[in-house]
């Protein structure tokens, strides 16, 4: 069953999806196997042998009626991550192209991407993979029609006013403008998923040499986090 708070990405719809998903998880509804928030919707998977659509709908409607979810507070325990990233060079080969589409000089594009914290609007597609936003409207640039055959783990890519960080090496239609040394999915770690919805990420531009040193020596590629209140 799917609950949709909007067919376009808005701050209110995203906030509602994240908060409502947290409430559904907390409610531990009998028969529900798992649920997930995406940008503006909540998906609920349930066992047909334990409940049915109409019974689940009643419970979900009760949760929906509890409050105005678009005004809900962001998830608890949010963190602000400071993440070193290299932009351009062979590690971010499409910086100039993406900057041109946003009508910015490459150095202004870097400054814009690092100007303010970007919020994790959803985790999805691949394990631990965050969609960060929202960038200023100049960044409403389309995905490429063709696919880049492969971007590495930790790649930083842009499209449609969002930044995505790749948790696994994958083909993509997003433009690859930078590289982080984040390991977003650590299956052998007690907390396998580095970022959570609602977290914020502030990129800090570093030189390629500095980046390589951080990648080789620093835990989490030099990223640090602090609690947000």
């Amino acid at each position: 069953m799917l609950i949709r708070f909007g067919t376009e990405l808005t701050e209110a719809a995203n906030r509602a999806a994240l908060a409502c998903h947290a409430a559904i998880e907390a409610a531990a509804i009998p028969g529900v196997e798992e649920s997930a928030a995406s940008l503006t919707s909540v998906y609920v998977r349930f066992a047909l042998m334990r409940t049915d659509h109409s019974a689940l709908r009643i419970v979900l409607e009760q949760i929906l009626a509890q409050q105005d979810w678009s005004q809900a507070s962001l998830p608890q325990g949010r963190r602000l991550w400071h993440v070193p990233a290299v932009f351009g060079t062979e590690l971010g080969p499409q910086l100039a192209e993406a900057a041109a589409l946003a009508s910015l000089a490459p150095e202004d594009a870097i400054a814009a991407l690092c100007a303010q914290p970007l919020r994790v609007q959803t985790i999805g597609f691949a394990p631990g993979q965050p969609y960060l936003g929202q960038l200023p409207s100049a960044w409403d640039i389309p995905r490429q029609t063709g696919l880049t055959p492969r971007v590495p783990q930790g790649a930083l890519a842009v499209a449609i006013r969002q930044v995505v960080l790749f948790s696994v090496s994958t083909p993509t239609g997003w433009r690859h403008v930078g590289q982080t040394a984040l390991r977003l999915f650590r299956p052998d770690h007690p907390d396998p998923f580095l970022l959570r919805p609602g977290d914020e990420v502030l990129f800090r531009p570093v030189t390629r040499d500095a980046f390589e040193t951080l990648r080789a020596t620093a835990p989490d590629g030099g990223a640090t986090s602090e609690r947000l209140r």
Binding site: E34, F125, G128, V168
Partner: protein, 341 residues
């Protein structure tokens, strides 16, 4: 510790179970066996929990050796199975002696399963033993791989059953998605009248379909905001081609979905041979619920359909070898063994 040692292994062989539940919100799809029914069938043949990990073989080949006596079961797409020179019946359980060498080679393609009494005892990772290669969990089996086997408390073998028909393509039932209404009625109608077949390039993430004629794309250039996608969803990609998501799919997607194949019909898709004809039809949500519940109930009573493996001695190349490696009903039931013929 009982082990399986692989001497030869083609590509596409992984350890699979029913997958990981509860990580969808973190971007990790459930994964697990491409043909989930085959896992239940193997567990029924061996009288064990369907969560036991088994080997999934995607149209590949292997040779393995057992370091200890062990019951096995063979389910899913039938393969040529030979143990120490003697052919083994598919869709059946067998008791193999220590040191037995088992060779499996492909016949029709599709997904085949080799189950071991006690299951494959790899340490669980995030609650399951299934390889999820798209997420970087687990790996393909290679020549030289050794897998530990769990304790096998069971003793029943030499059982067979008639599997649910799903190895020749056919009709796949689907329900409407939130995007189905975006497709013009004429496109939906043409979709259900079209004969499809599988594209040879497929993996555990999804199956592209081939057909003759025009595509099924929306020509409005509509941008759809990504939301959660699940196995069975039929995405219509930019070129108008249908792509059915499978066990190891991504968790979100922005292509419009024309329908969602019922979970109980996905086995028919993944097990269809390359040339088999596939058709789709819409069923209502109420019908779909009824179909799924009926199939779940049938799956629960699979055990009642087991019968002793009886074979014509004239078809058996080496009777003694058969007797050594395959019990008839329960392995420790001497009366049954004597009454074999």
């Amino acid at each position: 510790m009982a082990e399986v040692i692989f001497h030869r292994a083609g590509p596409g062989i992984t350890v699979q179970d029913l997958g990981r539940t509860g990580y969808l919100a973190q971007g990790l799809s459930r994964g697990g066996a491409a043909d989930r029914l085959a896992l239940h069938e193997g567990a029924t043949l061996l009288g064990q929990d369907p969560h036991c990990a088994a080997l999934e073989i995607a149209g590949s080949f292997l040779s393995l050796e057992l370091t200890a006596p062990r019951r096995i079961a063979l389910t899913g797409a039938p393969m040529q199975a030979v143990c120490d020179g003697a052919a083994l019946v598919w869709h059946a359980s067998h008791a193999l002696p220590a040191g037995a060498r088992l060779d499996l080679s492909p016949r029709t393609g599709g997904y085949s399963y080799l189950h071991f009494g006690g299951g494959i005892d790899l340490p669980p990772l995030l609650g399951a033993r299934a390889a999820h290669l798209a997420a970087g969990l687990g790996q393909m089996i290679k020549a030289g791989t050794r897998l530990p086997l769990g304790h096998d408390p069971g003793h029943c073998s030499g059982q067979t059953f008639t599997p649910l028909a799903r190895f020749d393509g056919g009709l796949l039932r689907m329900v409407a998605t939130p995007q189905t209404r975006l497709f013009p009625k004429a496109i939906c109608a043409r979709f259900t009248q079209t004969q499809f077949r599988k594209d040879a390039r497929a993996n555990r993430m999804g199956q592209k379909l081939l057909w003759d004629g025009a595509g099924f794309g929306l020509d409005t250039g509509l941008q759809i905001l990504s939301d959660t996608i699940v196995p069975g969803d039929i995405q219509i990609t930019g070129d108008g081609a249908p792509f059915v998501l499978l066990s190891e799919c991504q968790t979100t997607g922005g292509y419009p979905r024309i329908g969602t194949v019922l979970p109980c019909d996905l086995g028919r898709l993944v097990q269809a041979p390359p040339e088999a004809a596939l058709h789709f039809t819409f069923v209502s949500l109420q019908e779909a619920v009824q179909i799924e519940r009926t199939e779940a109930a049938r799956r629960e009573t699979l055990g009642k359909s087991l019968r002793p493996l009886l074979r014509d001695p004239h078809d058996m190349a080496d009777l003694l070898a058969y007797q050594l490696i395959s019990g008839v009903t329960c392995g420790d039931d001497l009366e049954s063994e004597r009454s074999w013929f």
